[in-house]
Amino acid sequence: MKATKLFVASIVFSMSATAFAAGAHDGGHGHSSASGEPGKASEASRTITVEMYDNYYEPESINVKPGETVRFVVGNKGNLVHEFNIGTPGMHEAHQAEMMMMVEHGVIQGGKLHHDMMNMDMGNGHSMKHDDPNSVLLEPGQSQEVVWKFSDKGNIEFACNVPGHYQAGMYGDVNFE
């Protein structure tokens, strides 16, 4: 019984640091959500290069068609750790609380990511691993890919949820054609 619970918890909450911190959950975590689903690189209709600076993206908005699969090549050109996360504003708000926990525990410190700390056992089988397919968390100089298949039209943004960055304007609009 306990093992099953743990198993389910790990699957559903592999991303979250603590269950109780995830206030307004919009669509929850996991691999499928209101913004779309992980895409296959082979189905990607095009590649968009996204550069992350302190504290903004270039480009600041993108146009996609509903159902389109886009391959994002994300590079961190700033001096701080940044995130590229595709989701609804509600999801971003929930994720910000989790990222705040990561900063408080020293996982994110300015321009450094402490990967070893991500594996810290937060209790109840949670860890602070940042391994959702709709986002990447990068140190300065790093680069990574996200392949995403956009669902039908919705209020989607790509955003950085490192505490304060979203509020400072580090987000971009996903405009559906």
């Binding site: 903004y56 020293g106 304060g164 400072a168």
Partner: protein, 577 residues
């Protein structure tokens, strides 16, 4: 002289090249209407506050200042990096601007952000001579917003600055109407017990210090952009917009705790330098400091910008609304602040060990479970990798834990957000773009902040400015200033011309400020790269403390090119300070 001629010729070409701009300012006697009273004061271009000076990073500015007063005046560009003789401090930068005279300031703009300017003569600044400076950056800012407003605060008092100084010298508690009364004795006695209250009163009576000694100047009307609470300065917005608010504390003596009920504020700049964004519910702005925050009101309603004085004797308020004339609820002032024995910790001869536990009367509802909160900002190089299975119960680091390392532990001034949320601490400030490489300081200079409240004398290392030798620094060194606050008041220390890198334990990410607040009973470290030749003022920015002696001249020996910058100390006629 010849170089000047060439420079003047080139200077004439510059506006055409878009590299220069010329501004005119007049210094005038003006009427100031706070909503509670009208008083004659001093303003710029016929008004107080003066106009917002908008400069561009990289341009050469020329500012012609005409003195229409019958006394000497000056303008100091607070926070600006410029040649020392353009800094505007009579007796240190230049002789001052005589009545009827026009002085032309000329200097390059080498920075961007929010700053301010004010007179450095007599008490002209508290009398109204202040204004804001907004410098547009060359490149893109690390944050976005749809509109911006300057939110400049001051503590306008019905008495003139000269009169206030005289009254404070005659009776240091002249303006303090938050003193402990017989009524408070009885309410404390019923809360903490009669014996504890008597013991506490006697302990403070022995020292001849008042727990109520938080604000020297009370009875002011808080103004925002020159408007009192009744006049209600209003900034308009469209719901969903991101608004940049440039908060500047231009008051003479008052620290304000600022919150906007219903809105989160994301701090993106402190003292004109970008900081890594941090979202807070409330922040305390010290005299002469500035904080730029971004807010995003989503609803079609009015929001109150509430600035409560640190001692809770007064407030300033403004409104953000979709339309003029709208108002939101104005919160009540909280209980008057009371110092604790912890705030006395800096006084020489105090035995902290036996004192700390004794002040029961002031430990009102202290939440001890939060006292042992871990403070990562001060834990340099802690090895987290070895910490397995952290016990969350003992980690009181999240919002609500009232433990700011820049206040004495158990301080009566410990900031608490009114809504229980996050209150900004200096330890939350981290530079977005460090201006200097991190390196070991070349030497440490200890500056004890001292004073005698009864005599209302304030000093540094026990010596008032009139009796003090200048502080001498060498061009190219990195000085580490150690401020030890041996008084029970908070002092905002301001070094002209060079940046103060505040040590918050973040190494190269330490924030870069121009004014650093040192709380009672604490020691604060600040490092300065000495890269500005000449001589500079260095003082507590509480107007009546600076005038009472808490002031120094800093002389920089040497320069980038020793021949050209060789300083000749010459006696010159001086006017009024």
């Amino acid at each position: 002289m010849n170089i000047r001629l060439g420079a003047v010729l080139f200077g004439l070409l510059m506006p055409a090249l878009g590299l220069a701009a010329e501004y005119d300012l007049t210094v005038d006697r003006v009427q100031i209407d706070s909503g509670d009273f009208v008083k004659e004061g001093i303003g710029y271009n016929g008004a107080s506050p003066g106009p917002v000076m908008r400069f561009k990073e990289g341009e050469e500015v020329k500012i012609n200042v005409t003195n229409n007063l019958d006394e000497t005046t000056s303008i100091h560009w607070h926070g600006l990096i410029l040649p020392f003789d353009q800094d505007g401090v009579p007796g240190i930068s230049f002789p001052g601007i005589k009545p009827g005279e026009t002085f032309t300031y000329e200097f390059p703009i080498q920075q961007a952000g929010t700053f301010w300017f004010h007179s450095h003569s007599g008490f002209q600044e508290p009398d109204g001579a202040y204004g804001a400076i907004v410098i547009e950056p060359e490149g893109r800012e690390p944050f976005r917003y749809d509109r911006e407003y300057v939110v400049q605060l001051t503590d306008k008092h019905p008495h003139s600055g000269d009169r206030i100084m005289r009254n404070l010298k005659m009776m240091p508690d002249y303006y303090n109407r938050e003193q402990q009364t017989v009524g408070e004795f009885f309410s404390d006695a019923s809360k903490d017990g009669l014996m504890n209250t008597i013991q506490s009163r006697m302990a403070w009576g022995d020292m001849r210090m008042m727990q109520a000694d938080v604000e020297d100047l009370q009875g002011f009307t808080g103004l925002i952009n020159g408007k009192g609470p009744e006049q209600n300065w209003t900034g308009l917005f469209e719901p969903g917009e991101r608004i940049r608010l440039r908060f500047i504390n231009s008051s003479a003596m008052t620290y304000f705790d600022i919150r906007i009920p219903g809105l989160d504020m994301t701090v993106v700049q402190a003292d004109g330098n970008n900081v890594q964004p941090v979202s807070v519910d409330e922040f305390r702005i010290g005299v002469a400091e500035s904080y730029d925050v971004i807010v995003r009101p989503k609803d079609e309603q009015a929001y109150t910008i509430f600035a409560e004085s640190m001692g809770r004797s007064g407030y300033a308020r403004a409104t953000l609304a979709p339309e003029q004339g709208m108002e939101a609820a104005v919160p009540q002032l909280r209980e008057p602040a009371r110092l604790t024995m912890a705030d006395m910790g800096g006084m020489p001869g105090m035995d902290h060990g036996s004192m700390a536990g004794m002040d029961h009367a002031s430990m009102e509802g202290m939440d001890h479970s939060n006292m042992e909160g871990m403070d990562h900002s001060n834990m340099k190089g802690m090895d987290h990798s070895g910490m397995k299975g952290m016990d969350h119960g003992s980690m009181a680091m999240n919002q609500g834990a009232a433990s700011d390392p820049f206040y004495a532990k158990g301080s009566g001034l410990m900031p608490k957000a009114a809504n229980g949320g996050k209150f900004l601490s200096y330890s939350d400030l981290k530079a977005q773009d460090p201006l200097y490489e991190e390196r070991e300081p070349t030497r440490e200079i200890e500056l004890r902040l001292t004073g005698n409240m009864e005599r209302y004398t304030w000093s540094i290392n026990g010596v008032k400015y009139e009796d003090a030798d200048p502080i001498r620094l060498k061009y190219g060194e990195r000085v580490r200033f150690k401020f030890v606050n041996e008084t029970m008041m908070t002092h905002p220390m301001h070094l002209h011309g060079m940046w103060s890198i505040l040590d918050v334990g973040a190494g190269q990410w330490n924030p870069i400020k121009h004014t650093v607040s040192v709380n009672p009973g604490t020691t604060v470290y600040v490092e300065t790269e000495v890269d500005a030749p000449g001589q500079w003022a260095f003082h507590c920015h509480l107007s009546y403390h600076a005038a009472a002696g808490m002031f120094r001249k800093v002389i920089i020996e040497g320069g980038p090119d020793s021949n050209q910058a060789k300083a000749e100390v010459v006696t010159e006629e001086g006017g009024e300070a």
